[in-house]
Symmetry: C2
Subunit: 435 residues, 2 copies
């Protein structure tokens, strides 16, 4: 790893596309593109630095129906789309009129529904970019520390590419995440501890000989991995007809997703792909793991670690690496961060399902409930255009809602019993036609 | 309901697009478009009859990224895409090179992966078409008899459209299907019986006053509903660059899906959208519910009902309405139908997950296992191009694989324990770099 000068690249030929270096977010020191994530000068986190060429809307629109249409903006080779991968992205932006009505939003409201990805969470995006980087760097095993969704995404992406995977998870995850990961194959190591324990363990493993050719997508490949989340900013802007939304609500786990959506918006402005216009970024956490919301409320620059205790396991990161940067984005744009109770999370899941037919995982419940809370508090403008991100699928967190819902009635296969049950039901619902 | 003459329609203006009548599949009697499914002359099933206009590839390619791009070929209004719906379809056609290698297929092999639909099964397609018909016919409640996937699709589609839904299911379904359906809201009636009991009960309900404005998507709206499956033929042909595959493998529940894929292919040929070329249609069933496979093996024209007993609940229809028509298609095209054991179903799920990163539900396991069986028997040509349909998502049938997979190891959050577990794992796998 050495300090490097800026060198212009031809993004159409370079193995890392428009990426030119890794750059320290704290001190600005620059390094060759490699499997590194921490500055040797100041220990700050590294991120990808670019020398973008000219990029046009037409060029992007003519690209694949996946995140690879944004290759000119990502640290991946022009041929990334042609290497075995799950082709995530270009998920639906749902015009959520029923949800808007239920929440008293008079502006437009959209749900960016990333449950439509191949393994049904936004993690397919970040893994695809990290997997491409792993190939360029000669790393033949892809690995991760995961709260579950990432485990699914890594194991599936490795299966598709014929690579080995090693997935490390807390041992208390939902069946929807562990059984799925195990079915894709690869090594699945369960750790009796929290996600923060898992993450620390993976950092320790990186020094060991056994992992010399492993790319931990969210540790030593983190700079590339995190860039994959920019596509959730790009897609929303493109799907809105190449403009920025006025308000976005984003769940916060490590905080990387929120900061990268903001980065994606700013890049589109700087490249002239959208008009510069003000937007506000709002963050969503579960009260049972709300270190960034607490820092926001208290006006702190630093984020004090907490011990997570929430059904929103995919957001249960007590020591979020990008928390301070997420705070910066929210404060810079005039947004806010709120945290919601376990009950509100379940209500949020049900509200989204009942109004839009989208069954979100607990993280989506957090985000919808936070949207509702911020509207009630007057901090989100209900007359402005708003995009709320659903990052995962309710099928992976069934237990969270299972005790709150039930069948209307159970009957024997007889017409009289069925009619009696339906008449009783119809008489108790406003939509019912029976009495 | 009255017998009607052919009348030319303008598909760009008609509320049912190019559809002109309902037509009896047995005696050819024709009826006005309505909520009918059975011929008053001979009790044969009704299907939609069309008077297609000119349809071009360019017209379709310029349409929405959903089944609505095929509106000129479906019994729906030109404005169907603009009414609230889940916009299903245009799911991935996955180039399955790893699976091909594992099965000894030297031709090309693709998986049409319909788990990418909004509620993760192909049922979103048929419900969208039925929902459109319900609107045209003034039916304000959408209802269904379901083995689970349809329940999800109906409840979600109704939620999105602000309609009432009534879903009737066997009481022994997987949690992934009942909890999900209940979360979308609507009435959910569980019946202590088989799917065939549920289906019969729904037919009986149709005569009752309480259901006067109900559209049972797979009973009195069945002619429209079933047409939605044609899109699984259209999309494959379009995604192959406007040509027909040489072989397709399709799961059989009622048999409608298989017959409609064939109908879609034939329509594309007759409209000049693809070149006429021979293709063979293969059917897949679980041995625990294989009435159509048994009829095929025995050379019967009729299908003898069976009592289902299989983990492939979404295929567990013991008295399949379209079984005889599926037999006709398979025999006409020179295909075959096979049935696979419960063990083979689980192996099929695991094989697809391990090779392509696609986690299918039990029906997908049936289809992959049948593909494998037919190759081994020499009945599918491994040198020809083949498309295999995965119609649902493994997250809905986790229990089927849960007992067959497990974590590699569980350790405390300590480097020495993690290393020991990983070295042990590495030494037992061919991909391992440790010894």
């Amino acid at each position: 790893m050495s300090l490097v000068q800026d060198t212009p690249v031809d993004a159409a030929l370079s193995p890392f596309g428009p990426a030119v270096a890794l750059s320290c977010r704290e001190c600005g020191a620059r390094y060759d593109l490699g499997a590194a994530y921490s500055c040797v000068e100041c220990f700050g986190p590294l991120e990808v630095a670019y020398a973008f060429g000219t990029v046009t809307r037409e060029q992007i629109e003519a690209g694949p129906a996946s995140i690879w249409r944004y290759q000119p903006l990502l640290p991946v080779a022009p041929w990334a789309a042609d290497e075995p991968n799950l082709a995530p992205g270009l998920t639906k932006l749902v015009d959520a009129r029923n949800l808007a009505a239920a929440l008293g939003v008079t502006g437009r409201l959209w749900v960016k529904d990333d449950s439509g990805n191949p393994t049904h969470s936004f993690k397919d995006r970040v893994v695809a970019v990290a997997q491409s980087a792993a190939r360029r760097l000669g790393l033949t095993t892809i690995a991760c520390a995961s709260t579950g969704n990432l485990a699914n995404a890594v194991a599936a992406a490795a299966a598709r590419a014929g690579q080995r995977s090693v997935v490390v998870i807390p041992s208390n995850l939902e069946a929807g995440k562990t059984v799925t990961t195990a079915t894709y194959g690869g090594t699945l190591l369960a750790v009796e501890g929290s996600y923060d324990d898992v993450n620390r363990l993976c950092s320790e493993l990186i020094g060991e000989a056994i992992t010399a050719d492993w790319g931990f997508v969210n540790v030593n490949l983190r700079p590339y991995y995190a860039e994959g989340s920019k596509t959730l900013g790009y897609e929303v802007a493109e799907q809105l007809g190449w403009r920025l939304p006025q308000q976005v609500v984003v769940p916060i786990a490590s905080g990387a997703l929120l900061t990268k959506i903001d980065k994606g918006f700013r890049e589109l402005v700087s490249l002239g792909l959208v008009e510069d216009a003000p937007y506000r970024v709002f963050g969503a956490q579960a009260a049972g793991c709300s270190p960034v919301a607490q820092a926001f409320d208290n006006g702190w620059d630093a984020v004090r670690p907490v011990k997570p205790d929430t059904i929103a396991k995919s957001l249960a990161i007590g020591n979020p690496a990008d928390g301070p940067y997420a705070l910066d984005v929210v404060r810079r744009t005039g947004g806010a961060i709120a945290a919601v109770s376990e009950e509100e999370i379940v209500e949020g899941i049900r509200l989204l399902a009942e109004t839009e037919g989208i069954f979100a995982e607990t993280a989506g419940g957090v985000t919808i409930a936070t949207l509702r809370r911020l509207i009630a508090d007057g901090r989100i403008d209900p007359t402005a255009d708003t995009v709320v991100y659903n990052t995962g699928d309710g099928l992976k967190t069934l237990d969270a809602v299972a005790e709150h819902v039930s069948v209307t009635a159970t009957v024997r296969p007889r017409l009289d019993e069925a009619l009696a049950a339906l008449v009783a039901e119809g008489s108790t619902t406003s939509e019912g036609t029976a009495s």
